[in-house]
Amino acid sequence: MSHHVVEARNLRHVYADGTVALDGVSFRITHGESVGIIGANGAGKSTLLQHLNGHLSATDGEVRIGDIPVVKGTLREIRRSVGMVFQDADDQLFMPTVRDDVAFGPRNLGIPPHDVETCVADALEQVGAAHLCDRPPYRLSGGEKKRVAIATVLSMTPDILVMDEPTSGLDPHARRQLIAILKNFQHTKIIASHDLDMILEVCSRIVILSDGSVMADGEPGHIFNNSELLAECRLEMPLSMQGCPICSRPA
């Protein structure tokens, strides 16, 4: 279905101070794909993600969601389809309680109050946070905040889920819970992360960004075995693919 396709065509973004953050990025992501965007710090991952929901406008080139170009006039529709989860959950949880935060999106869309309740319950159920409904955000742990942040976006029933460093700052248990949740989602997923092992588990396709350009775009197995490419982009193999640190046996 065309409205689930995410497409970038020669996307270029130059910041006000002259920094070229994105330099001719092109890709096409189809419905249900799970794509990991990896790269060194400063490679342009966050900038790219911010183009996908129209927060930044392109200096040159374009982004299309479905067949709708991401421009000022279409932002409302775009943001209905594309749900974005930020790196710092505190930036995303700004209402007095979890329930209010998760209901914020649906209410802004004009959904009637009774249906909002249903959306909220469903979203919290999906992330396993139904019991946190009436808590204020400051009483949530890091992992709980992350899950609730995802719920705030899920309640708008987006078709595409964009996530910036979802596992950063989580303890192993919370991280494992989050990975399980992500694997269950049927949405199109676009995940930017340094957590290469999570990307390996969750994503079926990898895009490597370096200095604002796409260096590679393909299957994880193929890309993660290319040590030269990884080194050039200041990356390395996921730990689960590296040899055993104790007996040096290869993975």
Binding site: R76, M84, D90, M156
Partner: protein
């Protein structure tokens, strides 16, 4: 830094208390806010030297604390930090006003001391009521009640945002402050020269955070106006709470209950 941590802890403790359950907690926030306002107004309306007439008013915080299961010692401990300004300004009264107005046996009590104690009692009554109000209602519910009662939405939203981010900012401020203190080696290192850049940096991070929050809000369809506030039910229990207490306050304002009781007791004794 103890004071940031202590301040946030106090806020959290009161917030925690507001989540408890009791007949008072279940009342609609509007009723509780209104009664608290009427109480403070009545207490304030007393004359400078009124002391005995004020004492019966302690029945209000006493009953509220008791019926809501708030820990009384906790409230009293908070009140123990009597606002220094009030204390010092009030102390001028006994110094300046030495007209004896009352004799207790052979001891003469001046008008100045009467007004000093009046000020102290008034402080405990009004500030204590504020604490009890937060303890049985919760800051969030108070803000929502205020909005329902006519406070502009922009201001009510501001209060809620402020409250939400105090915890986040206090955490950041505490970390930066600790880092600074650990490298201070005596008070010389804690001067303006180290304070300003630190606060400046905190300000920059705060500004960036605001930009990210704005991004998050817009990403979820926000267009400048918050949707209608939560509706709540103002029923019979609330009416009774409001009317009952208001009538009692009016009565206690009109009649000096202490004097009545005292005259009664003394009369029956003689």
């Amino acid at each position: 830094m103890p004071s940031i941590a202590a301040a946030v802890l106090e806020i959290k403790q009161l917030d925690e208390l507001a989540r408890c359950d009791s007949p008072i907690h279940r009342l609609d926030a509007r009723a509780k806010v209104l009664v608290a306002i009427i109480f403070c107004g009545t207490v304030m309306s007393f004359g400078t030297h009124d002391l005995s007439a004020l004492l019966p008013f302690f029945i209000f915080p006493a009953v509220m604390i008791a019926r809501s299961n708030l820990p009384p010692l906790f409230i009293l401990k908070k009140m123990a930090f009597l606002c220094p300004f009030v204390f010092i300004v009030a102390l001028f009264n006994p110094a300046l006003d030495r007209t004896i107005v009352v004799h207790l046996g052979s001891v003469g009590i001046s008008g100045g001391w009467m007004s000093f104690f009046s000020i102290v009692v008034r402080f405990f009554l009004t500030a204590g009521t504020a604490l009890v109000l937060v303890g049985v209602t919760g800051f969030v519910a108070i803000c929502q009640a205020l909005e329902q009662m006519g406070v502009p939405q922009v201001f009510a939203a501001q209060l809620l945002f402020l409250y939400r981010y105090i915890f986040v900012l206090a955490e950041e401020g505490k970390r930066m402050s600790s880092a600074r203190e650990l490298r201070a080696y005596g008070s010389a290192g804690l001067g303006i020269a180290s304070f300003s850049p630190m606060i400046g940096y905190l300000l920059l991070r705060t500004w960036s955070r605001a930009e990210r929050i704005h991004m998050a809000m817009r990403a979820r369809g926000f267009d400048g106006a918050f949707q209608a506030p939560a509706t709540s039910h103002f029923g019979k229990a609330e009416m009774m709470h409001l009317i009952g207490w208001t009538m009692l306050f009016a009565f206690m304002r009109a009649e000096n209950m202490s004097r009545l009781l005292g005259t009664l007791i003394l009369g029956s004794l003689s």
